[in-house]
């Protein structure tokens, strides 16, 4: 890397928040404030922790856990859960069931919730006056603002290196794969890790759908290519287990 690099220019700051089982990285104007303060960054950080407490399937007392056990009716849950369930149902139908809220057999909408929470955090920054920012939730990124954002795609077969760099404005980039968490995505139709792909990256306008589509595409394996070709407004790039790659026909527009 040359010295200048992506160092935050004057007036910008980065913040990394441990939440939702991962780290959410903010690239924001300095005026967005401190993560513990009352300005936009603080509000976005508190939102993410509220989502974690409400939607985590790993917390026995979360609304999601209680709803999943049948001990808390939907009407008594946070109203956002109904919103999430509607969105998940639509994505599940659109993906032929490859996206599901019961990926391991139990109720777990995390495959949608994380991207949804990140996108909303980005929207809170916009509402708070930020013209340009990105929020990266453990590898799934929402970029906002008119500048050209350059997002590196991690190489799933060579940790620490990039496979590609994509660029866009006001766009979302999400990657699903085995690279960092092991085989955590299974094909809901077989219960087995999908064969064939090391990772799939989907590019779209908003992270909630983009992230969920990446999850579904990875579960599909090689069939994901034709599926994403048929999705309006989304493009995909994949690295196969053997080290080859493919991309959908419009992906070239994002190559940096």
């Amino acid at each position: 890397m040359s010295g200048g690099g992506a160092d935050a220019p004057e007036g910008r700051r980065r913040h990394a928040e441990h939440v939702m089982g991962t780290v959410v990285s903010f690239d924001v104007p300095a005026v967005a404030g401190e993560p513990l303060g009352d300005a936009a960054l603080g509000r976005a950080v508190r939102w993410l922790h509220w989502v974690d407490a409400t939607f985590s399937p790993y917390r026995d007392d979360s609304d999601v856990s209680r709803f999943g056990r049948g001990t808390l009716p939907l009407a008594d849950c946070a109203p956002e859960l109904a919103e999430v369930l509607r969105a998940c149902a639509a994505i599940s139908a659109r993906s032929g069931g490859y996206f599901t809220v019961t990926p391991g057999g139990t109720f777990d909408p995390s495959g949608y919730v994380k991207g949804w929470a990140i996108e909303r955090a980005a929207a809170m920054l916009t509402a708070g006056g930020s013209a340009e920012h990105s929020v990266n939730g453990g590898g799934d990124v929402q970029c906002a603002g008119g500048r050209l954002w350059r997002i590196g795609i991690a190489d799933p077969l060579r940790p620490g290196r990039l496979a590609l760099v994509v660029a866009g404005r006001d766009f979302a980039v999400a990657t699903s794969g085995v690279a960092e968490r092991g085989a955590h995505i299974v094909d809901p139709h077989t219960g087995q890790p999908p064969a064939g792909l090391a990772s799939v990256t989907v590019v779209g306008a908003r992270l909630p759908e983009t992230d969920a589509y990446a999850t579904a595409a990875f579960a599909m394996g090689p069939a994901a290519r034709d599926w994403v070709e048929g999705l309006d407004g989304y493009e995909a790039f994949a690295v196969t287990a053997s080290g080859a790659a493919w991309q959908t026909s419009g992906f070239g527009a994002y190559l940096a």
């Binding site: 040359s2 010295g3 690099g5 992506a6 700051r13 980065r14 990394a16 441990h18 991962t22 780290v23 990285s25 994380k114 990266n136 453990g138 590898g139 799934d140 990124v141 970029c143 050209l148 350059r150 997002i151 590196g152 795609i153 991690a154 190489d155 799933p156 077969l157 620490g160 290196r161 990039l162 496979a163 590609l164 760099v165 994509v166 660029a167 980039v173 999400a174 990657t175 794969g177 690279a179 960092e180 968490r181 990772s199 990256t201 090689p222 690295v239 196969t240 053997s242 080290g243 080859a244 790659a245 493919w246 991309q247 026909s249 419009g250 992906f251 070239g252 527009a253 190559l255 940096a256």
Partner: protein, 163 residues
């Protein structure tokens, strides 16, 4: 600055298309931009191992450094040596006015059975990496979700620390 980035984008898209083919036959230098410096095209989608498309290539890549034989106004940038599954690969980009106009191959695996796969994947990746190293402007990294602990070793962590 944005104009430059856009120009490079178009050029790299052209390169990805060209590099989808075997590249070890020494021949005349290729004008990688293919004459069109405009927006990138969908031709980049041909880099598939399963598609099996064939296209004609308007040239091949020079073997070895061409840094000493460049016309005025062109500069050479060497990529890092990348250890692929097939062996070490290193490329050299030739730029003119911040546009890539040629690619030379400095190091490539001796085993040529995998030319197509290397061409379809490793070279475009190396170009991306070389450009990234050269421009050094990555805002964030997308990859399979890391855990809170895994973040420490992630590229994103390195970016966050640089701010």
């Amino acid at each position: 600055m944005r104009r430059v980035i856009l120009a490079v984008t178009g050029t790299v898209a052209g390169l990805v298309a060209l590099l989808s083919f075997k590249s070890h036959v020494p021949s005349v230098p290729v004008s990688a931009a293919g004459g069109s410096g405009g927006s990138s095209s969908s031709s980049t989608s041909s880099s598939s191992s399963s598609g099996g498309q064939t296209q004609t290539v308007p040239g091949e890549f020079p073997q070895g450094s061409v840094a000493k034989n460049l016309p005025a106004g062109e500069t050479a940038v060497d990529g890092n040596v990348a250890n692929t599954a097939y062996g070490p690969v290193q490329i050299q980009l030739i730029e003119r006015s911040s546009k890539i106009v040629k690619v030379a191959v400095l190091v490539q695996p001796a085993n040529t059975l995998h030319d197509i796969q290397i061409g379809a994947f490793a070279f475009p990746k190396l170009i991306g990496e070389t450009l990234a190293a050269q421009n050094g402007k990555i805002d964030a990294v997308s990859g399979a979700t890391y855990t809170s602990a895994g973040y420490i070793q992630s590229l994103q962590s390195a970016l966050d620390k640089r701010a």
